[in-house]
């Protein structure tokens, strides 16, 4: 008798305990959530403060794209995108080495940025409307104007896409490339079969074996793979057709305008510096004695003994000094990383606007 009463009483008290715990948890919940979202953009804590607290910039890159970002034998990263990571670090810390490179894949890069695992994503990513609005990310400024191309074997008779009706095309997975390919062939009334690979190395094996008639990705990517093709670059030919607009550039999460401004204006600063003729070679002389008012404003120094103008960027008016001293201007970054791929800058969209290209910075003033 007493035992069953005891047992019932015990179970009841367990239940009561559990419900108390539940209530406690749910009221706790608010707190834990707000603590963990402090990490995310939603809570409004600034990315800049987070980066400064951490003392190092986390920058998302590809890591296996020669010319843009590539892991070297000594563990360092080289390339165009890697240099832009360094430029942002130089602006924030005055030290271009304070970068932690995080390798991302075409498929996981946006999650990496959205979850706060990286502060900025510089992984030759194409700026599109859906990525801007649907993925909730902000593109700072295109640093490289690319376009999708088609590479075929030199021995093949193809000159245009119209020559390739019914072709099997090798594609890298998880890019806008698939979408462009589909619409280009659809608009021309051509049929094709896409063979989509996760890794470029396996794609190259299939292409070498003649499994595909064409190989498509951004022209810069094609040029960089053509350079290391096992049968030599002359075995391959890139068709003249440009299938898409691919403006590539750094991006940040929606919702932190202060951080977005820093990334955007570091990028513009490299354009402006080239336009004004300021490079890593002469930046120190220019800091001491700027050529013009525009140079003085960009470097955050006074012109002809005048005062410094602070335009209110959160990293201070002198942010471009370290960028130019340690990384260089746009032309230097391009020359060092992209020119070796065989992609001529002159006459392309990547020339300065004064030379007929699209590289243009809004005024720094």
């Amino acid at each position: 008798m007493s035992m069953s009463w005891l047992r019932r009483g015990f179970l009841l008290s367990m239940l009561a305990l559990a419900s108390v715990a539940l209530i406690a948890c749910s009221s706790d919940d608010e707190e834990t959530t707000s603590v963990s979202t402090a990490d995310s953009a939603a809570s409004g804590e600034s990315t800049l403060a987070k980066v400064q607290d951490r003392g190092i910039l986390k920058c998302g890159i590809s890591g296996s794209l020669p010319g843009f970002s590539q892991l070297e034998a000594d563990g360092s990263y080289t390339g165009f995108d890697a240099d832009y990571c360094r430029a942002v670090a130089a602006a924030v810390f005055g030290d271009a080495t304070k970068v932690e490179f995080v390798e991302t894949t075409g498929a996981n890069r946006f999650e990496t940025l959205a979850s706060g695992e990286v502060d900025v994503l510089i992984r030759n990513t194409t700026w599109t409307l859906s990525r801007d609005s649907d993925l909730k990310q902000s593109f700072a400024a295109p640093t490289f104007y690319d376009g999708q191309g088609m590479m075929v074997k030199s021995s093949s008779p193809f000159q245009t896409l119209e020559d390739m009706d019914g072709a099997t095309i090798c594609v890298n997975q998880g890019t806008t490339t698939e979408l462009n390919l589909a619409s280009q062939f659809l608009e021309r009334g051509l049929t094709y079969t896409a063979l989509t690979f996760e890794t470029t190395d396996l794609l190259q094996e299939a292409f070498l074996a003649g499994r595909c008639d064409g190989w498509t990705t951004d022209k810069s990517g094609l040029a960089s793979r053509r350079g290391v093709y096992p049968e030599g670059p002359d075995a391959l030919r890139i068709l003249a057709v440009t299938m898409s607009k691919e403006p590539l550039g750094p991006l940040t999460r929606h919702g932190d305008d202060e951080w977005f401004d820093i990334v955007a204006w570091v990028t513009f600063g490299t354009f402006q510096a080239e336009e004004l003729g300021v490079s890593s070679a002469n930046v120190d002389a220019q800091i001491a004695n700027p050529d013009s008012v525009a140079v003085a404003l960009m470097l955050g120094v006074g012109y002809d003994g005048g005062d410094v103008t602070d335009m209110g960027l959160a990293v201070g008016p002198q942010f471009m000094q370290a960028v130019l001293q340690q990384v260089g201007n746009y032309g230097e970054i391009y020359e060092k990383n992209i020119t070796p791929l065989g992609l001529e800058r002159e006459g392309s969209l990547n020339a300065l606007w004064i030379n007929g290209g699209l590289i243009y910075s809004p005024p720094i003033r």
């Binding site: 047992r7 015990f10 179970l11 367990m14 305990l17 559990a18 715990a21 539940l22 948890c25 749910s26 919940d29 834990t32 959530t33 963990s36 979202t37 995310s40 953009a41 939603a42 498929a107 946006f110 999650e111 979850s115 706060g116 859906s130 990525r131 649907d134 993925l135 909730k136 093949s156 008779p157 193809f158 020559d163 390739m164 009706d165 019914g166 072709a167 099997t168 997975q173 998880g174 890019t175 806008t176 698939e178 589909a182 619409s183 659809l186 079969t193 896409a194 063979l195 989509t196 690979f197 996760e198 890794t199 396996l202 094996e205 299939a206 074996a209 499994r211 008639d213 929606h254 919702g255």
Partner: protein, 411 residues
């Protein structure tokens, strides 16, 4: 004090405490997960932007923009919706998984029996097969089959054509083509009366099964040979053939060919028949051989679990080795085989997700591409989770049903 020790020493209380603690832990973890989820929601849709509510699937109605290949019955093109692309990918996965289950089962059965063979060479070869294949990662095996074997097949311009000749008589030219684009084999093409014919043949099939059951009962009652198989099969075939003729050929055979397109005919593709792509075949062979090495161990274990007396009794009755295997050993071994076989089938179905590595457009490919272009990764992963769960639960229910049937009646 005494009551307190009593309290701890009573098993009923101990159980209650342990179970109560377990419930509390689960509740805590559950709440933690919910908190995490709402956290994710914040990351995906910051509060200051207007965005659709959490976990909505409307975006799946938009145009996919990508085409999927490797389809058997239908390929989708870029104008179809994202939902269609995902369903087509799922269909490719289901097709791959069903072929794989058949192939791996047969391979596994043969190798498992082979490991118990009386022949030294067969026994050792099967052991070697199992020990090598089950110890190499599946993805690596897929790469090896693809790069080392499949890609070395001739390009389609030099495709191997197989003819069928019968005593110098050329019966069928270009019956099968083999190239690195895949196999092209003859296939049946349905004509307008196919539905009617299938209906008639289906009725004939049901009739034949009923007739066989009747004859079997009669044979059990009267004894003698009532030709329980011969008559039903004859009746089924006769009705099907007559219906085929009366319905003016509801389906016809079609042999494959190669057509040229593009500049100067530089691009060649298969046309007609059925095309099995190299990628599909590579995965079937690679994953099939891989999983067969596990299945063969299940087969071997189940056979060895039977008492030796069973085989010896068969021997004493003068049954041949084949008769002993099919009449005595396998029907009994099947009872222990089915539950672990179900595990292997489910494993294999989930393993097909690595097929995307060599360009096979399965459901993982479709969902990943869509999420990369449209975001909504939480929704996409939920859809993927539901699709794989449904497939696994389906296999599991079929295997449970089979298990129930075999446990009850044997085969």
């Amino acid at each position: 004090m005494n009551t307190l020790t009593n309290f701890w020493y009573r098993s009923a209380y101990r159980r209650a405490i342990v179970q109560g603690t377990a419930v509390l832990i689960v509740v805590f973890i559950g709440l933690g997960l919910v908190g995490q989820l709402s956290n994710l929601e914040n990351v995906q849709a910051p509060k200051f932007t207007s965005s659709p509510p959490f976990l909505t699937f409307e975006f799946l109605n938009a145009r996919a923009g990508i085409a999927l290949s490797h389809g058997l019955i239908f390929d989708i093109d870029s104008n179809d919706s994202r939902m269609d692309a995902i369903l087509n990918g799922a269909w490719n996965t289901i097709r791959l998984a069903s072929v794989l289950i058949g192939f791996a089962s047969i391979m596994g059965l043969l190798v498992g029996i082979g490991r118990l063979s009386d022949f030294y060479l067969i026994r050792k070869a099967c052991t070697l097969y199992v020990e090598i294949l089950r110890n190499i990662p599946a993805l690596l095996q897929i790469y090896i089959w693809y790069v080392v074997i499949w890609l070395t097949a001739p390009a389609i311009s030099n495709a191997i054509a197989i003819d069928i000749n019968f005593f110098g008589l050329e019966i069928l030219q270009n019956f099968i083509f083999i190239s690195n684009k895949g196999f092209a084999i003859p296939w049946l093409i349905g004509q307008e009366n196919l539905g009617t014919w299938l209906f008639v043949a289906g009725l004939a099939g049901i009739g034949a099964v009923l007739l066989r059951r009747y004859l079997q009962k009669r044979q059990d009652a009267l004894g003698g040979n009532q030709r329980t198989n011969r008559y039903p099969i004859f009746i089924f075939l006769a009705i099907s053939v007559i219906a085929y003729i009366l319905l003016d050929s509801p389906f016809t055979g079609q042999t494959p060919g190669i057509i040229e397109s593009g500049a100067g005919g530089a691009i060649q593709n298969y046309k007609g028949g059925m095309v099995i792509t190299g990628e599909f075949l590579t995965i079937v062979v690679a994953l099939g051989f891989y999983t067969a090495s596990f299945i063969s161990e299940i087969v071997r274990g189940s056979i060895l679990s039977l008492p030796a007396g069973q085989a010896e009794a068969g021997k004493a009755l003068g049954l041949s080795a084949y008769q002993r295997l099919t009449l005595i050993i396998l029907p009994q071994a099947l009872r222990t085989m089915i539950p672990p076989l179900g595990n292997q089938y489910i494993n294999m179905t989930k393993n097909t997700s690595i097929a995307v590595a060599i360009g096979f457009s399965d459901v993982v490919f479709a969902t990943r591409t869509i999420s990369n272009n449209a975001g909504h990764s939480l929704e996409i992963f939920t859809a993927l989770l539901v699709i794989y769960l449904a497939m696994a639960l389906f296999i599991s229910s079929v295997m449970n049903g089979l298990n129930w049937y075999v446990q009850r009646s044997g085969i």
